[in-house]
């Protein structure tokens, strides 16, 4: 999984790749810890849990809570946090985390009106972008403009070797 440079075995040109890997891992573990802590905080309340930093974000969060959707959002945060920290199913975790991260970024950037919120929005999108760039090869197949006709091949492959 890790490069040789990350394991401290090589120097020279490989060090650049190692530095890149370390940066990506740092983003991944920080993001994973962030999502896990804030996801669990919804139920366990380690730290104060206010409902938004502006009237509109508060309205949205209250609507999510009252509709039960916030449990799903927080569940996704916990799940993706665990996956990123365990370094398992990272591409799947990224896909799951993007809608939540995008919502958090939008609320902080557009609805809240303070510097800390804007920094939060930029940081969260930068982190998810970094993690995704680090695993970009896993997402490149999705960028195919034209694909084959629908078939059961994928389903067969999934059940024959689901978790490689």
């Amino acid at each position: 999984m890790a490069t040789a440079a990350f394991d401290g075995k090589k120097a020279g040109p490989a060090r650049r790749a190692g530095t890149f890997t370390i940066i990506i891992y740092a983003a991944q573990f920080f993001f994973g810890g962030w999502f896990l802590a804030h996801g669990l905080n919804y139920w366990l309340e380690f730290f104060p849990q206010p409902h938004g930093s502006s009237p509109i974000s508060r309205e949205l969060i209250m609507a999510l809570i009252h509709s039960g959707l916030f449990d799903i959002v927080k569940g996704v945060e916990v799940l993706t946090g665990i996956l990123l920290l365990l370094d398992l199913f990272v591409p799947l975790a990224i896909v799951l985390a993007v809608p939540v991260a995008l919502s958090i970024a939008h609320l902080n950037m557009v609805e809240n009106d303070d510097l800390f919120s804007r920094v939060t929005a930029i940081v969260i999108m930068a982190l998810i972008a970094l993690i995704a760039i680090g695993r970009l090869s896993r997402f490149l197949p999705m960028l195919a403009m034209r694909v084959e006709a629908p078939s059961l091949d994928g389903l067969r492959a999934f059940f024959s070797r689901p978790f490689r």
Binding site: Y25, F46, G52, F116
Partner: protein, 166 residues
């Protein structure tokens, strides 16, 4: 990744954002209790602001705190007995003796339409007097009173009206 490195990365990955969160939610942080209290106030409805002001200012006899809590620093007051800014309202209310059981107030009606709220009430400012039939009008924005008018009519000792003023 080596197991030890991975374990340390997990610990650091959890500790770093948690530490940041504890700082941001501390009294010195940008997400302090004071910050969220301000947000909570900004979402108050016109009625909640007016009722909160009346409760704190009159019922709990804390007029200065009520003005500071519920009136915008830039409030415009049209009451002819004050200069019209927030400090002048505080000064006016501070001169009153709040220890003798008056002023006493009985709310008769509260009408709210959008950002405007109207309180129709009976105020007794001095012990033994019949008091005043009062109408206070408040304009509320972002959880704060931004403009205030009042119309006061002393209740006469003798009146030909059998219905009384309330």
């Amino acid at each position: 990744m080596r197991p030890l490195t991975h374990a340390l990365a997990i610990i650091a990955g959890i500790a770093a954002p948690v530490a940041v969160t504890f700082w941001t939610t501390s009294a010195a942080g940008p997400r302090s209790k004071a910050h969220y209290a301000a947000v909570e106030q900004r979402v108050l409805t016109t009625r909640e602001v007016i009722e909160g002001f009346e409760k704190m200012g009159i019922d709990e006899r804390k007029p200065k705190e009520a003005i500071l809590t519920y009136f915008s620093p830039d409030v415009i007051d049209h009451d002819p007995t004050v200069k019209g800014d927030r400090q002048s309202i505080i000064d006016y209310l501070d001169k009153r003796d709040w220890s003798s059981g008056v002023p006493r107030r009985t709310v008769r009606n509260i009408v709210v339409e959008g950002d405007l709220g109207v309180v129709h009430h009976h105020i007794i400012r001095k012990p033994g007097e019949k008091g005043i039939a009062a109408v206070d009008i408040f304009r509320v924005k972002d959880g704060k009173v931004v403009e205030h008018w009042d119309v006061l009519q002393p209740i006469p000792e003798n009146s030909i009206n059998r219905n009384g003023m309330f």
